[in-house]
């Protein structure tokens, strides 16, 4: 099987950047990724890119160069970056192209997202009644999970404390100050059992990745990080996902479980082979539930994992090494690519103060969002 390589990475710092649009943050990331790959825009044979709410990626050819390459705009909610990467990966794997770029960016206003029911195939009353709120979904899913598997609020706080600690060590993170367990537990309740510091916020940022065929990567002397799997899945029957007026009693797997299983099969490895992971942490409980849904532990084992620090930077499976969504915020179009960016940094050993010191060979990333879409990327070096 032909592998696809990541030969350049670029990021625009996440958080709030006044006077710079989402598109401009995307452009910044593209230029950084090209510089990292030691390539020019004119070397790119295609591009896949998108934002959820901040403009059309392909308009950037005005700034980057009108080289007439195919530039596909992607709009896939929280999986926008994952879908763009899936497109680019497939384009090279099919041998149609040898070198291309993926980008994702966004710039959201403050406060929670405000989706419109009609855009999601839902009746107006669903929003009018106050149920079109993503944070409710995570809290409701989590409440049941905690009840079934004995997860405590302390475990939720430990996830957040770890995220803010890791964020202090990541230059691209938004939240750069540590927050202690008591402050997290005692901050205002947003959606019970989740407090303010257990939730990520919409933010801004951009990420770009340059992808190459094995032949091209060797020419560039950059054949170090390879894509072993890119799997993207939509929701299966019986799953419980964001914006669901009803769930079937006869339950099925989650979208995440389906995407994870497909990615592991594609890569030919299992959860125990993964050295570092970035998991969707829209809130603390999401990281906990996604640890099990992605196969890294059994349901309920997270309590002990967190108490023993197994997912910290010096643990057996470091999770969200740059502070994840909790510390970086969530610019929807860029978030999934940030996870891949962070994994490339870790595999290259370029993480500085947040570098996992153990030798890393594999890295896993998982993104999840409405209306039940997930993308999983596995890297190896």
């Amino acid at each position: 099987m032909r592998d696809v390589f990541i030969v350049g990475i670029g990021i625009h710092p996440f958080g709030r950047t006044d006077n710079r649009s989402g598109l401009q943050q995307g452009e910044f990331a593209v230029r950084a990724a090209l510089a990292d790959a030691n390539l020019d825009w004119s070397d790119m044979q295609f591009a896949f890119g998108g934002s959820d709410a901040s403009g059309k990626a392909d308009t950037l050819v005005t700034q980057l160069g009108q080289t007439t390459i195919p530039f596909v705009n992607v709009l896939n909610g929280c999986a926008t970056g994952g879908a763009a990467l899936f497109g680019a990966y497939s384009a090279i794997k099919s041998q149609e192209f040898e070198l291309g770029i993926v980008l994702g960016f966004d710039k959201h206003p403050r406060g929670a997202f405000d989706p419109r029911p009609v855009d999601w195939g839902l009746p107006a009353w669903y929003g009018e009644a106050g149920m079109m709120v993503t944070t409710q979904f995570f809290a409701i899913k989590l409440r049941r999970y905690m009840d079934l598997f004995g997860i405590t609020p302390l475990a939720l706080a430990r996830v957040a404390e770890k995220a803010y600690y890791n964020g202090t060590r990541a230059p691209h993170a938004w939240r750069r100050a540590p927050v202690d367990i008591d402050t997290i537990l005692n901050s205002s309740m947003v959606n019970d059992p989740l407090t303010k510091f257990m939730f990520c916020s919409p933010s801004e940022g951009g990420v770009a990745l340059v992808l190459a065929s094995e032949k091209k990567a060797r020419e560039l002397v950059r054949a170090d990080v390879r894509l072993k799997a890119v799997a993207m899945r939509s929701r299966p029957p019986g799953s419980f996902e964001v914006f669901a007026p009803a769930i079937e009693i006869d339950r099925g797997p989650s979208t995440t479980m389906v995407a994870s299983k497909a990615a592991f099969e594609m890569a030919g490895i299992g959860p125990h082979d993964i050295d570092v992971a970035q998991l969707q942490d829209t809130e603390s409980g999401a990281e906990i539930m996604h640890m099990a849904e992605n196969g890294f532990c059994a349901d309920g084992q997270q309590e002990a994992w967190l108490a023993e620090g197994r997912s910290r930077l010096d643990g057996m499976l470091p999770i969200n090494t740059d502070g994840g969504c909790l510390a970086c915020g969530e610019p929807i179009g860029a978030s999934g690519l940030r996870q891949v960016y962070e994994n490339v940094v870790q595999l290259r050993g370029a993480g500085g103060a947040r570098q996992v010191t153990r030798k890393l060979r594999t890295a896993y990333s998982h993104v999840y969002g409405a209306p039940g879409v997930s993308a999983v990327v596995i890297l190896a070096c």
């Binding site: 009644a129 106050g130 049941r144 009803a246």
Partner: protein, 120 residues
């Protein structure tokens, strides 16, 4: 008050709300009683639009109620102190005033409340 879902003719699968597709779905009335499946409290007012609750905002409970033999339905929860909610709590269908329309009409939505002890 009745809660209407739909049953897909080809597969027999239930859906809620009733899809606007009379070719494929027959109306199916949902059971009026069930058990609380999970819940949270909305402490911050949802963005308007789409939210249309009359101001001032007061925190409300929301969750899913398992209706045996049918579906697990998302719903506002009412007539209950937040601290009394628990997974498995017997619930029943009721109506809840949501907002006053421009012409003064009081618009209701469905909700679930704890079953009366005598009926549970």
């Amino acid at each position: 008050m009745r809660l209407m879902g739909g049953r897909e003719r080809s597969s027999g699968r239930l859906a809620f709300p009733l899809p606007d597709d009379p070719e494929s779905f027959d109306p199916a009335e949902m059971p009026r009683q069930g058990y609380l499946w999970s819940f949270t409290v909305q402490r911050i007012g949802p963005k308007s639009p789409p939210y249309r609750g009359d101001p001032p905002f007061a925190p409300f409970a929301v969750g899913y109620v398992e209706l045996p033999g049918a579906l697990i339905i998302e719903s506002r929860l009412t007539n209950v102190a937040f601290g009394r909610l628990y997974i498995g709590m017997p619930m029943e269908l009721t109506a809840l005033p949501l907002y006053t329309d421009v012409d003064g009409t009081l618009v209701l939505t469905y909700a679930f409340r704890p079953q009366e002890p005598a009926r549970s």
